[in-house]
Symmetry: C2
DNA sequence: TAGATTGTTAATCGATTAACAATC
DNA sequence: TAGATTGTTAATCGATTAACAATC
């Protein structure tokens, strides 16, 4: 177990390992090697071992990793062993899709509130998740102890929504709005920018 | 203008520049410096200049870049000056959201077909986009000359859908299914994996 | 001209990977 | 024990950034 700084790249791979291991467990496989993980996820096996060794010595030389144990460990590293409350701001088509998706997910990260400017037109709940007007954002986030905000509003409003979320106590943001948002250093932002991914694919098509 | 190999990282930034420049143009700004671009997009200005200089000498020393010209150039580099046909496979909530989104976008990349196993329950079109049964995938893709496929089916079916798309002639895939897919080297895959992004955010929350 | 900003080189930084001793 | 696979070091690879001459 090393104690070097853990890179963002490593952290982003952990949920990929976790998801893979959960499916491995569901297939009744008890142990797995870095080689097998690497082959199936298209990562270098040395990278898999290195990523995991940042957090402890989980492997058994000659045998590989115990699937159950690794699942529990990665969950703990990512803090997915605790319950984490999330909200969605902007309840358009994408917001709807994410809520549906979340309802099926079996993890400790649950959407606890939906915010939209037009709450009156949307009703009071969706899939059991309460819908609030934007005016109540600060109060609800504090009351429900929400730590992560998902932004799915149009790009024009993304920065002001981010500001409001941070003021209310949110510490991390997943931004689906197609714009760069500016936040204080201690706030973590990840982007889910599928238009960018799609447009960059065009480059690789034959001329 | 250098002729080194252009990195994937550079290519992925091009659509971000492009989107930003289109908004800059809409605000009636005619020219912009790498410093301004960098500040607003949170990129290093030297990186902006380097990215752009791979493709030509667009800047004017002492003045910066002509916005109109840069937009046209990046479009051309990305091949977004031509029409590119795209399909969506899997018409659940996410697929619906993407189609809606696409309908509003003003670019040359248009969704030309939707495929779903249960086409009979979904009707014949959505927002003007025809819906087909999966059985017709190969024929429709060939007929409509579709080059990019978006996968939004459940993870269990993602690999077989990818295989079918590639067999039919698709050259690039945007995969929303939460699983690694295996494809031949000449096929480009980008991932739009928001669950991973969300779960990795938990790591950064206070303990 | 003076000031600003590019394009590019060289330096730095960081991430990936090969290799192998340790050992289950 | 023999074979397999880890954890980790060192090497490599690649991407970012600082610096500055060129020049509009």
């Amino acid at each position: 177990m090393s104690d070097k700084k853990i890179s963002d790249a490593t952290i982003k791979r952990l949920p990929i390992y976790l998801r893979f291991l959960e499916r491995t467990k569901a297939s009744n496989i008890k142990s797995i090697s870095s080689n097998e993980i690497g082959n199936l996820l298209k990562f270098n096996p040395a990278q898999v071992r290195k990523d995991l060794s940042f957090f402890g010595d989980f492997g058994k030389k000659g045998f590989g990793y115990d699937v159950d144990h690794l699942i529990l460990t990665i969950r703990k590293i990512l803090q997915l062993d605790k319950e984490i409350s999330v909200c969605i701001v902007g309840f358009g088509h994408l917001g709807h899709a994410l809520c549906h998706y979340s309802a099926y997910q079996q993890d400790n990260m649950k959407i606890k509130a939906i915010f939209d400017k037009q709450q009156d037109k949307l009703g009071n709940e969706f899939d059991g998740i309460p819908i609030f007007n934007m005016n109540n954002l600060t109060d609800v986030i504090k009351e429900k102890n929400i730590k992560i905000g998902i932004i799915t509003v149009p790009h024009e409003f993304a920065q002001e929504v981010a500001n409001a979320l941070i003021d209310a106590g949110v510490k991390a943001i997943l931004n689906f709005a197609p714009i760069t948002i500016h936040v204080p250093d201690e706030i973590k932002v990840h982007y889910a920018d599928f238009t960018t991914e799609l447009h960059s694919l065009a480059y690789f098509l034959e001329k």
